[in-house]
């Protein structure tokens, strides 16, 4: 699987498993990372993403499987012999060394003359925009500045691979979005193969070339952010990347009809839906259309009559929670743009009709 012409597999993760005693943390992970690619490992806490990153770095040892970096088998190499730089969530900056000394820490151990170290350290400080702060101790720097020092330190030995473990999660929202762009710019400028672990889907979608969604120790799906959004292959991915309503019902394959309670929905012809009749219907809140109230709804397709239970204002849109009278506990999310909301004058308790757009409906195998 070659992503595009000219790029080659820089890192190959082959059948990696990790268990602590009886518990599996990672199960048969296969993953290729291309040269210069920015890859995100995304998943909820406990899905094994950090463990995978630590196995790549050698800080943790896999139970099974192999890792090949740049054509070299490194499965059992000790950390200090692997070619990577790492930024931890806590940054782990040495508190008794100033910004410059932190960055130079790895360089000083190599047999490089002092002038060269000075030059490279200054270059790195400039790269992350901290020339003025070289003499400051970590405690004198802001969170964002500390983060940049950690980044510069990780890149000091010009590693072939950069590993970022939740690098932005300790920062406040504004600094975070600014740093997202900066890290991305530096990464592209140096064409540095990068793997970032995060639980924040916005971060993953905005930074990564490809995202690896992980769930309970295995890879749920790999793809570009848009692919994942448009074509999630499991209900987990569907609901983790963006939001998706999932309704449990029966699928009549021959007639392409999905039955949910007493309602029937027409589904686009799709040969991929080969599974048994019990399955899930998925539709994103933004793919549900509001039709205010009609008398003869039977004539239209894919219409549900629902009651508005909650209204949340989210800026440009309103998110409604609606329920069927026959199933009050099942929340259905519907996104409505503000203008439509105002012109229709919708209130809590109102009955409305909603339409699930046929071409936007997805079906998923139900694992329940």
């Amino acid at each position: 699987m070659i992503k595009k012409e000219g790029s080659f597999k820089y890192l190959e993760i082959k059948n990696i498993s990790k268990n602590f005693g009886q518990t599996f943390v990672l199960k048969n992970i296969h993953l290729d990372v291309f040269k210069g690619e920015f890859l995100c490992l995304l998943g909820p806490s406990g899905c094994g993403k950090t463990t995978l990153l630590r196995i790549i770095s050698g800080l943790e040892r896999q139970t099974n499987g192999d890792i090949v970096q740049d054509g070299l088998l490194i499965s059992n190499s000790p950390t200090e012999k692997r070619d990577f730089g790492i930024v931890f969530q806590s940054y782990a900056l040495f508190p008794n060394l100033n910004a410059k000394q932190n960055i130079a820490y790895g360089l000083e151990n190599k047999k490089i003359n002092k002038k060269e170290i000075e030059k490279r350290t200054n270059n790195l400080l400039r790269l992350v925009g901290l020339e003025k702060y070289s003499d400051q101790f970590p405690s004198q720097l802001s969170g964002g500045q500390q983060q940049r020092v950690a980044l510069a330190r990780a890149m000091a030995l010009s590693p072939g691979l950069l590993l970022l473990d939740e690098p932005l999660s300790a920062l406040d929202a504004q600094v975070r979005s600014k740093l997202r762009n900066e890290i991305k710019l530096i990464q592209k400028k140096l064409n540095l193969t990068t793997i970032m672990v995060t639980h924040d889907q916005t971060e993953a979608l905005s930074m990564a070339d490809r995202v690896v969604v992980m769930e309970r120790g295995h890879i749920a799906q790999i793809g570009t952010p848009f692919e994942l959004y448009k074509n999630p292959i499991t209900p987990f991915v569907a609901d983790f990347i963006g939001k998706m309503n999932l309704l449990k019902g029966k699928y009549d394959k021959k007639n392409c009809v999905f039955y949910y309670l007493n309602n029937r929905f027409l589904i686009s012809q799709n040969t991929e839906y080969s599974f048994l009749e019990n399955c899930l219907l998925g539709i994103r809140p933004e793919d549900i259309e509001i039709i205010k109230f009609r008398k003869n709804i039977e004539k239209e397709e894919n219409i549900l009559r629902v009651k508005i239970k909650e209204i949340t204002y989210l800026g440009t849109i309103f998110r409604l929670i609606v329920v069927l009278e026959s199933k009050l506990e099942e929340n259905i999310f519907v996104d409505v743009i503000s203008n439509q909301m105002i012109s229709n004058n919708l209130k809590i308790g109102d009955f409305i009709d909603i339409k699930l757009k046929k071409e936007k409906i997805k079906l998923f195998e139900s694992n329940l």
Binding site: L72, L73, I74, P78, G85, I86, A92, S139
Partner: protein, 579 residues
Amino acid sequence: MYFKKNFNKSFNILLLRILIIFVFILVSFFIIIPLLPLFLKSFSDNKNNFIGLENFINYIQNPSLTQSFINSLKVAITTTFFSVLIGFIYAYALTRTRLPLKKFFNTFSLFSLYIPPLAVAIGLIYIFGKQGLITQGFFGTIPGFDINLYGFNGIIIGEIFYCFPQALIILVSALNLSDQRLYEAAESLKASPLRKFLTITLPNIKYGLMNSFFICFILSFTDFGVPKVVGGNFNVLATDIYKQVVGQQNFAMGATISIYLLVPSILAFLIDKNFQKNEASLISGKSIPFKPRKNLIVDSIMFIFCSLILILVIGVFSSIVLASLIKIWPYDISLSLQNFRFSNVAGNGYEPYFNTVFMSIYTAIFGTIFVFFTAYLVEKFKPLKKIRMLIYFFSTLPIAIPGLVLGLSYILFFNKPSFSVPFLDFQIFNPFSLLYGTMGILVLANIIHFFTVCFISATTTLKQIDKEFEEVSESLKVPFYKTFLRITIPLSLPTILEIGSYYFVNSMITVSAIIFLYPAKIPVSSVSIVNMDDAGDTASAAAMSTLIVLTSLFVRLIYEFTSRNVSKKSSVWINPLET
């Protein structure tokens, strides 16, 4: 297929494994293995014939010896109760009230840590003894009052002096961990002060409370100094061991009694360890420290209570100093320095004093290096997990090994030039026997005797240092020892100094661990206090005690001064607002 990098073996990890195994061997030979000859001895007669349980049966059948066991228990239980009670009230006053002059009370409460228990006992003699200030009504100026010092009463008072600061330290740190928000929440729910105390304060300090109970129990159960000086005819296990070994040269019975002393201590230790295992902090990192409100009645009661305690502590200390300066108590109360000549009894002049100072300096230097390095290897690395866990367990054990037992086991272990392997006709040279009869064995005994407290404080500090520093260093290809020297040591410097000063002070005042061990050519001052007191030269004993206390205080002052400079220097890393 792929190029296999031929560098899978890491020199650093190999080095680390070797170091961990090396430290494991050292702690085994210094802590656990010396106890084996002691156990063997307790099952043998003095000609080294195996006699099974005979010693233990003899012991139980000897009413005067079994009485000592009961006496020791009585002393330990009474002391523990009062020490923890006083320690708790004092700690509560320091942490949870608006006690006036808090800083003063805080500093001086720990004053008695620098007075050897032996010296406390001598001070008590000058206050409550036959010719004591109170007993004789200040040289007959007012009616006297006799508390019958020699015996149970004297031991209890002396032991409380010794144990109370230990309980205080533990309880202050337990009470310092508090959350104002819990009290505010309770108040908003209209909880009474008693209810708040029972539902918030007590549950939060239960681990500290239990810990202080066990520490006080072990200390007072095993202490030798106080019963030796003011015990009179009230025998306890510790003085029995001394009599058997030094008086009758009966090592087998000494070893047997040691087992009776060791077993309850180890039991207390294990119960406490098991209890502390469940400790989970109820106070989160986000908690807001408790800010006591003014309460005139409580604050005044606390002020009176704390003042009384301090007056007693300072009174005992002053009476030691006074006794050392008075020519012939109580007949010629003119001041003189003649007691500081140490010429009459032991006849060693200042030699014991300087030996002790050097011993304490060596203990501080080598002990600090050894304990910190051990804690570092245990805490910071991943290889050889089981061995590191064993090192951890061994390191926490010495607190349960009474000084006398440690001393006796060291004699039995270190004086053997070789070991014979059981069932085989084979001898192994004992390299540690080279230490026997040198200053080295005293230093080693001290290092191990006080190992646990130092080890725990080193471990606690190392835990607070981000474990990812080691991982970052690995990723930057910097070997661990460079990070140890450049990052870990500077960050731990305050604790390292604290450990050094703790070792110094305790080596200055200790007697139990070294009384069996000191070579005749290296007399030490705490032993000469015992000898001078035995010979009736209490004034010289008081003078030597004064020297010890002043030296310890002097070193502590140097420590305070240095650590203040260190923290000023490091404040720029820790507290950005001050720069």
